[in-house]
């Protein structure tokens, strides 16, 4: 593999910034990613932060990491392992070294490697490198003292000066990759627009870091340049993470549908940033209510939907547990609602900051009664926009709650995103009642083709009606416990959701259509599965990828696709939930499984090895 990597190093590079959770590694990583994107690279990032807000300084549990993958062509993942590791202290070195390759360059702040620092990171020996068996090239920079020296006349206090260490590291990394730091200057001036003295101090240190590399020719054997290949679709681009893209998708859909957006939510990691983002944009008329609990988050959204808004609620797995009753109310009242589940490690509180795909069966089946609900999954940070838009369109046009699954990995990870033109997005046309229906209309009268009922908003004269959680008579909506009616209504609700399959694209096959192995996945693993498929095909093997966005209903060609391939592996970050679901939906198929529940993204190399083994069986 090392041989392959060497070739790749010309095309793409992975940098991992790591330090104390207060060291500003997320900012340094984000800026490096933005600077590289501006130079035309494709980017993919992955923040790996601890659950504690501020663990004891220098401790192993307090290490925060931020990985950036930049490429001259398309990059699908933040990368398995890094080419450059920035370790701001011994704890970072100890916990992050596992992400290094044998030829990775490690940059450390020697000022943070005192005896006391080593003790905090539970090193036994005086030389942490020999203790960990590190033979990599190490760039030793006295970052702390150089920052102090650089800002000694700034008039800033010591604490503020120490906060600029991340910019020194960033400057050094920028030198290593010949990045243009004027972009960094611009970013800092924007970030600290209200504190120009802080902006200038950071800029000074950024230059100092760059200059340190240049002046000392920081001893590295490989010179990295990542030229940009002009293969991207022309347009304006920005860096966006999945949670922000999700928020943008909701706002775009609301505007397109001509509705006010209402979000009922309750803070929960890793979904809260969607609430933060939407709360900012009141000038777009967005209403956000931070509710008293998860239940109210969803219940208030059902109320808002009844009242005529595009209603959404955002949460993670534990929140879905609490919301399921209100989600079910939206099922039986047939009201539009978008429920966003940013999946994290479970069960129970589990691993709040880590990523999994373990809520699939929960959102499909975790409610009482026959409760069909569309489920769609976003495949990457930028795809969260399209997925959220699509979830809103389905909810509004089919009068149903829809679950959008994302996960901590794509929610926090970011990538370059071409700014969308809403004119190119499909219209959203909710089935409102029309004045001519007055007098003939009843709440559960359905469009005969789609099975969708019509939406009468409170305030509309002549359409007063009552709906609720009790079973109701078909068409009239009056309470009914008639056996035949209940069976009919159960069927009608199921058929309505099944008919959504008429409105979604077929399952696409990527890679080699004559593949010996079809890789199947859903959601946030797309990048890793795609990279694994590319690697297999580059090795002369024949592999293809079928990645599901629509899980309920499944695309119409699902059975046909799955029956076409002799060998299929379903790879997912759970113990086989999609595989089990597909076996139930498509009889007689044999599926291999690759399941991993570690809270971390897949490792492409591990996928390639596992898939190769299946192909050789």
């Amino acid at each position: 593999m090392a041989e392959d990597m060497k070739v790749k190093e010309l095309d793409d590079v992975v940098v991992r910034f790591s330090g104390d959770s207060g060291d500003g590694m997320q900012l340094a990583g984000n800026m490096f990613s933005n600077i590289s994107a501006t130079e035309g690279n494709d980017i993919s990032t992955f923040p790996d932060y601890p659950a504690d807000i501020r663990a004891p300084q220098g401790s192993l549990t307090g290490v925060s990491g931020f990985q950036v993958h930049i490429g001259s062509g398309k990059v699908y993942t933040p990368g398995d392992k890094c080419d450059v590791l920035v370790a701001m202290n011994p704890a970072a070195l100890k916990t992050q070294y596992k992400f290094c390759k044998s030829q990775s360059v490690i940059i450390i702040d020697t000022d943070s490697f005192t005896k006391r620092d080593l003790e905090k990171a539970q090193f036994q020996l005086e030389n942490p490198f020999s203790e960990l068996g590190i033979k990599n090239e190490v760039v030793e920079a006295a970052i702390t003292s150089m920052c102090k020296e650089c800002l000694k006349d700034s008039g800033l206090d010591n604490k503020t000066i120490l906060r600029t260490k991340n910019m020194f590291a960033l400057g050094l990394v920028c030198w290593l990759f010949h990045r243009d730091i004027t972009v960094g200057e611009k970013l800092l001036r924007e970030k600290f627009a209200k504190k120009p003295e802080i902006a200038e101090a950071n800029i000074k240190v950024l230059h100092a870091g760059y200059g340190f590399g240049e002046n000392t020719h920081a001893s590295v054997s490989i010179s990295y340049t990542v030229p940009s290949k002009e293969q991207k679709i022309p347009g304006r681009y920005m860096d966006i993470n999945g949670n922000k893209a999700t928020a943008y998708g909701l706002m775009a859909a609301a505007e397109k549908a001509g509705l006010e957006l209402y979000l009922g939510s309750y803070p929960i990691t890793p979904a809260t940033d969607i609430l933060h983002e939407l709360a900012k944009h009141k000038s777009l008329g967005v209403k956000t209510v931070q509710c008293e609990d998860e239940i109210a988050g969803c219940a208030s959204a059902v109320g808002a939907s009844f009242a005529g808004a595009l209603a959404a609620t955002t949460t993670s797995g534990p929140g879905i547990c609490l919301k399921s009753e209100a989600m079910n109310l939206a099922v039986i009242t047939e009201l539009p609602l978008v429920i966003i589940d940013v999946q994290r490690g479970g069960p129970s509180t589990g691993l709040p900051t880590k990523s999994e795909q373990t809520d699939l069966l929960q959102v499909l089946y975790g409610r009482n009664g026959e409760s069909p609900m569309p489920v769609i999954a976003a495949s990457s940070p930028t795809d969260c926009f399209d997925a959220a838009y699509t979830a809103c369109k389905i909810a509004l046009e089919h009068m149903t709650p829809v679950v959008l699954l994302t996960d901590a990995y794509i929610a926090n990870g970011s990538a370059a995103w071409r700014l969308p033109n809403l004119n190119e997005y499909p219209a959203i046309n909710p089935p409102y009642v029309t004045p001519d229906m007055a007098g003939k209309w009843t709440p559960f009268l359905r469009n005969p083709e789609t099975g969708v009922r019509y939406w009468a908003k409170p305030g509309t004269e002549g359409f007063m009606h009552r709906i609720g959680g009790l079973e109701k008579s078909n068409e009239t909506g009056a309470i009914s416990t008639e056996p035949e009616n209940h069976h009919l209504m159960t069927k009608l609700r199921a058929e309505k959701i099944a008919k959504i399959a008429d409105c979604i694209p077929p399952l696409e096959i990527e890679g080699n259509p004559d593949a010996d192995l079809l890789i199947v996945g859903f959601g946030g693993t797309y990048g890793h599965l795609h990279s694994a498929m590319d690697t297999l095909n580059a090795q002369g093997k024949k592999a293809a990828l079928a990645h599901f966005r629509f899980i309920n209903p499944l695309p119409k060609n699902t059975a046909e696709v799955l029956r076409r391939y002799k060998k299929i592996v379903v790879a997912e970050q759970n113990m086989g939930q999609l595989a089990g679901y597909l076996r139930m939906k498509v009889e007689g198929i044999h599926l291999h499984q690759f399941n991993q529940v570690k809270g971390q993204p897949f490792v492409v190399q591990e996928l390639v090895e596992a898939f190769t083994k299946i192909m050789e069986e």
Binding site: L187, E230, P234, G235, R236, Y237, M238, D239, I240, Y248, M251, A252, E255, E260, Y262, G264, K282, S283, L284, G285, K287, V289, C291, E292, D293, I295, A296, A299, S300, A301, V302, G303, A304, S305, F306, A307, G308, A309, A311, E325, A326, L329, T333, L419, P420, L422, P458, G459, T460, E461, G462, F463, M464, H465, R466, I467, G468, G469, L470, I479
Partner: protein
């Protein structure tokens, strides 16, 4: 308000299916009458309920209505009001729905001061599940789920409401039509969360729970109708009154010990400080009359209006108002 005059019949729909003699029937009549007098057109009203006997009420209203899930009516009503402030919202809950499973939503709706009217039909029992004690059942109450009596103290709805910074609290007896209509009209007039506790009999599982005020003559003896600005007098001939004594209240008889009407407390529903209002709301027999009428009615900014105002304020300041303009606020780069 519309120019059109409405009658109670304009708000009626369906055939109530509560037990004969249930207090809900009487309340429903008062509710229809009150709505007609308030005059908000039926299509601009949404009646939102939770689960329980009384929560069936939306089906008997010719308005928009939603019969939701157990305990969540206040949360659903909050979302509906924030999303569509033009709609008048009445929330119908029982004591179990509103104070047990829905206790959290109840106090937070009040705290936010969402402009909704919460009607709490309090019969001190779970009727629809056939007779278990509720969070308002008295300590020692014997029911199917407490055959040896409960060993817990009840909530007093007023205390929860005031504790959550409630700005409007009123009480009526379901069987007491005229005053119920007046209390409902006052609740509608009040901007912000209005809580109306309706003392209601469950003829099957808790018959007689409000016997002290069940009949007109009982109410004359055992209840006091509070009116803002009026002296706190009660009794068949208004011969009794309330006076302050130390930190508490006391019942006095006019003419005894030289007490005249000018010694009697004047009700102030608009007083910001709720100390005395809470004392009035918590009065109970046999030593004190039960307070009926509007006990507290204080103006405060409402949540839904504040949400709207903030949107208008921020919109006026910000330069982006469309999605395309929002995109422009980001750092971008051009790929040619």
């Amino acid at each position: 308000m519309s120019e059109t005059k409405y009658t109670a019949a304009d708000y009626k729909a369906g055939q109530p299916r509560w037990c004969p003699g249930c207090g809900d029937h009487a309340f429903l009549n008062s509710f229809h009458k009150a709505l007609a007098e308030i005059g908000v057109p039926p299509h601009q009203i949404a009646v939102i309920s939770g689960i329980g006997c009384s929560s069936r009420l939306p089906y008997y209203m010719n308005t928009y209505g939603m019969h939701t899930i157990h305990g969540r009516a206040a949360a659903i009503a909050t979302g509906a009001k924030v999303a569509n402030p033009a709609i008048t919202i009445w929330q119908i809950s029982g004591d179990g729905d509103g104070l047990a499973i829905g206790g959290n939503h109840f106090i937070h709706a009040i705290r936010r001061n969402v402009d909704i009217n919460i009607v709490l039909l309090n019969n001190r029992i779970y009727g629809l599940t056939k007779g278990q004690y509720s969070p308002t059942s008295a300590r020692g109450f014997v029911s199917k789920s407490s055959p040896y009596g409960t060993v817990e103290d009840p909530f007093r709805p007023a205390e929860l409401c005031f504790g959550a910074r409630g700005r409007f609290f009123a009480r009526c007896a379901a069987v007491d039509g005229g005053p119920s209509v007046e209390v409902l009209k006052a609740a509608a007039r009040h901007k912000g969360t209005s809580v109306v506790e309706v003392l209601q009999n469950c003829v099957i599982f808790n018959d007689g729970t409000h016997n002290a005020i069940a009949k007109k003559e009982d109410r004359e003896k055992n209840a006091i109708y509070l009116e803002h600005g009026k002296p706190m007098l009660f009794g068949p001939n208004k011969e009794f009154g309330l006076m302050q004594e130390g930190f508490g209240l006391k019942v006095v008889k006019l003419g005894e010990n030289g007490i005249t009407e000018k010694d009697i407390l004047i009700h102030d529903a608009h007083c910001e400080d709720h100390t005395l209002q809470l004392k009035l709301a918590l009065m109970e027999g046999p030593d004190f009359p039960i307070a009926l009428g509007v006990i507290r009615d204080v103006e405060a900014p409402t949540y839904d209006e504040a949400v709207k105002a903030q949107i208008e304020e921020v919109s006026a300041k910000k330069k982006y108002h469309t999605f395309a303009e929002l995109l422009d606020t980001n750092d971008t780069w051009e790929v040619k």
